[in-house]
């Protein structure tokens, strides 16, 4: 059994591109759900918006990636307005229903045959999507690999910029939530009528939080398209949103570092168990499982872990249990 392989693979994935993508999506959810209390079950739609903005602008229209990023931000804003304006005046559950339906609507639209010329249908968009970005790679051309982390030169550049993005948005959220703006959104989470009674335009703040969270999520999608050089419609299933929620709850909602630690932990567990089980089956330690079962078993383990977390530490890694005890209004 190759322990070092298990370790390096786990570590590489724990802070790899997938972790960054989910982390960005979870930071967005943290703004929406963690701080403002908006139940957005369609975060994947914003991620898809980012990815498809890159795909469509770069591949379909043959324009620059930098324009695509701008388009991604604009589209995420439009989606947030579209979802938010009719539902944010209503009770919280309405947004949840509309967002989950909308995210599937987005996926089914982009994979439909009718829009195949623009979105590429079920095959998605594949090509040199991130070329403009990869051209900026400052790493030496003869770069082989880092000692432990097995990234290619191209991936390492994405990882570096990806974590810079994570750091930037984490810092932005930190600045916002400790400001009077953050106080209002936290107040909305607690009881929006109380905040209304103090003369705050709650609807506008909810919309701002939805837009900000959506844009951060769209950056996850942009990173995805640039790193993989491909956009696949079926990667944007509702599970993505639920994994992002898992990450958020793992780290602790309404904690600035929650999504970052949650994402790393999520991928340690997911990649770690996967690699370990794979190796263990190969080595003959486990004979009741087939290598093809590993993918499913790791989600079983993840689910069990999440249940255990909810029982023993419902506030997440960073949460404050005292706050949770005060839930009664």
């Amino acid at each position: 059994m190759d322990w070092s392989f298990v370790l390096t693979q786990t570590l590489t994935q724990a802070i790899g591109i997938q972790a960054i993508i989910y982390c960005l999506a979870a930071i967005g959810l943290n703004v929406q759900f963690g701080y403002t209390g908006l139940l957005n079950f369609g975060q994947v739609a914003f991620v898809a918006a980012g990815s498809y903005a890159v795909g469509v602008i770069v591949l379909t229209f043959d324009l620059s990636l930098w324009l695509a990023i701008l388009v991604g931000i604009v589209v995420a804003t439009i989606i947030a307005l579209l979802l938010g304006i009719p539902t944010l005046r209503l009770r919280a559950d309405y947004l949840a229903i509309v967002t989950i339906a909308f995210s599937e609507l987005v996926r089914l639209t982009v994979r439909s045959i009718a829009f195949r010329d623009v979105f590429g249908g079920a095959q998605g968009l594949n090509g040199k999507l991130g070329q403009d970005f990869h051209d900026t790679n400052p790493l030496p051309a003869d770069f082989q690999s880092l000692p432990i982390l097995s990234w290619t030169r191209q991936d390492l550049w994405v990882v570096i910029v990806g974590w810079i993005l994570v750091a930037f948005f984490t810092f932005l959220v930190w600045m916002l939530v400790r400001s009077p703006w953050g106080r209002i959104v936290r107040g909305i989470r607690e009881d929006e009528n109380a905040v209304v009674s103090l003369g705050k335009n709650v609807f506008a703040y909810k919309l701002q939080a939805l837009i900000l969270g959506g844009i951060i999520g769209a950056f996850g999608g942009i990173v995805w398209a640039v790193a993989k050089q491909s956009v696949q419609p079926d990667t944007f299933r509702p599970e993505f949103t639920f994994f992002a929620y898992t990450i958020l709850l793992l780290g602790g909602a309404a904690r600035v570092m929650g999504p970052v630690v949650g994402a790393i932990l999520f991928w340690i567990v997911l990649a770690g168990t996967g690699e370990f089980l794979g190796q263990a089956i190969q080595a003959g330690w486990i004979d009741f499982l087939q290598p093809t079962d590993v993918g499913n078993i790791r989600f079983v383990l993840m689910g069990s872990g999440l249940i255990a977390l909810m029982v023993f530490r419902p506030q997440g890694i960073f949460g404050d249990r005292r706050e949770l005890a005060l839930d009664a209004k």
């Binding site: 009077p180 703006w181 106080r183 936290r186 989470r189 009881d191 905040v195 005890a325």
Partner: protein, 303 residues
């Protein structure tokens, strides 16, 4: 601590003097009304919860809105403050027509309310609750929020003002505690203090005494009088007639959605219509004959 004696201060004297010549009848015009409401109606299905022909609230006075359960007091509150939409009717605040205005805008122009079920923001500290009340904060704007130097100064002065109010309401030792850890009475105090942070011209208190122990009640009464002395108009909903008698300058009585009586507290307490509304029209009849009469006067809660 503010004084708890029944002698009103200068503002109280003035308010009572101004109201001395007002007729004690429903819809009586007041010398200086801050709120004038006309034909305000709201029904839930077949039940007309509020149907107020005309009512005026005197500026600078403490006005009590009383009535039996289900009289429509809270619904009327919700309508006036924009938290519920009236089927018809118009009302003005400070001479400005405000029917249909969003509740947050009403709060901004000086009409601030509290709630029957106290809305302390549990998972925020007492200080954050207070700061939330302050109006016109630069740091509440999204792009300004990212630059603390734009709002740090304002934040400090807001905190100072909050501290002053918390001391007055005897909550200053709880300043860093979560609001959710306060007792029910303390939450009432916090909600009131928070509303005052918004510098209201008219503060509308929905059952400020509900679930508050007698000792705290006395201090709450004192706080309400202090508000009047500082020039704030107070309108409050209450059940407890003794409390109403103690502090109000004027009393408006609602029953089954309409205003049935108005007047100074002493006169209203003796009003036959009020006694009937509270106790039923046949309350002094022989017990053996009252079975029907009692069910007849019992009305349901509209909410």
């Amino acid at each position: 601590m503010p004084s708890n004696d029944t002698v009103p201060g200068a503002q109280g004297e003035a308010a009572r003097a101004a109201l001395a010549n007002v007729e004690a009848r429903p819809g009586a015009p007041k010398p200086d009304p801050i709120v004038i409401a006309d034909h305000v109606r709201r029904s839930f299905g077949g039940l007309t919860a509020v149907n107020v022909e005309h009512v005026e609230i005197q500026r600078g006075a403490i006005t009590a809105l009383i009535g039996p359960n289900g009289a429509g007091k809270t619904t009327f509150f919700n309508l006036i403050t924009g938290f519920d939409d009236a089927d018809e009717g118009k009302w003005s605040f400070n001479g400005r027509q405000v029917a249909g205005m969003a509740p947050y805008r009403l709060a901004r122009i000086g009409m601030v309310r509290t709630f029957q079920l106290t809305k302390a923001l549990s998972r925020m500290t007492v200080m954050d609750n207070m700061r939330l009340g302050a109006k016109g904060q630069t740091g509440e704007r999204f792009f300004a929020a990212i630059f603390p130097f734009l709002w740090n100064g304002q934040e400090k002065s807001i905190a100072e003002r909050a501290m002053g109010l918390l001391e007055r309401f005897n909550l200053h030792e709880k300043v860093d505690d979560f609001a959710g850890s306060l007792s029910g009475g303390q939450r009432k105090l916090l909600e009131m203090a928070r509303a005052l942070m918004a510098n209201p011209e008219l503060i509308m208190l929905d059952e400020p005494m509900a679930g508050v122990n007698p000792a705290l009640k006395q201090s709450l009464l004192g706080h309400i009088k202090t508000m009047r002395e500082e020039g704030t108009t107070v309108l409050f909903v209450e059940h407890d007639m003794d409390m109403v008698h103690d502090i109000s300058d004027w009393v408006i009585v609602m029953a089954q959605g309409s205003v049935i009586a108005e007047g100074p507290p002493d006169a209203v307490m003796k009003d036959q219509a009020v006694i009937d509304a509270y106790l039923g029209a046949h309350h002094d009849a022989q017990l053996t004959e009252t079975g029907e009469a009692l069910t007849e006067s019992a009305d349901g809660d509209p909410r």
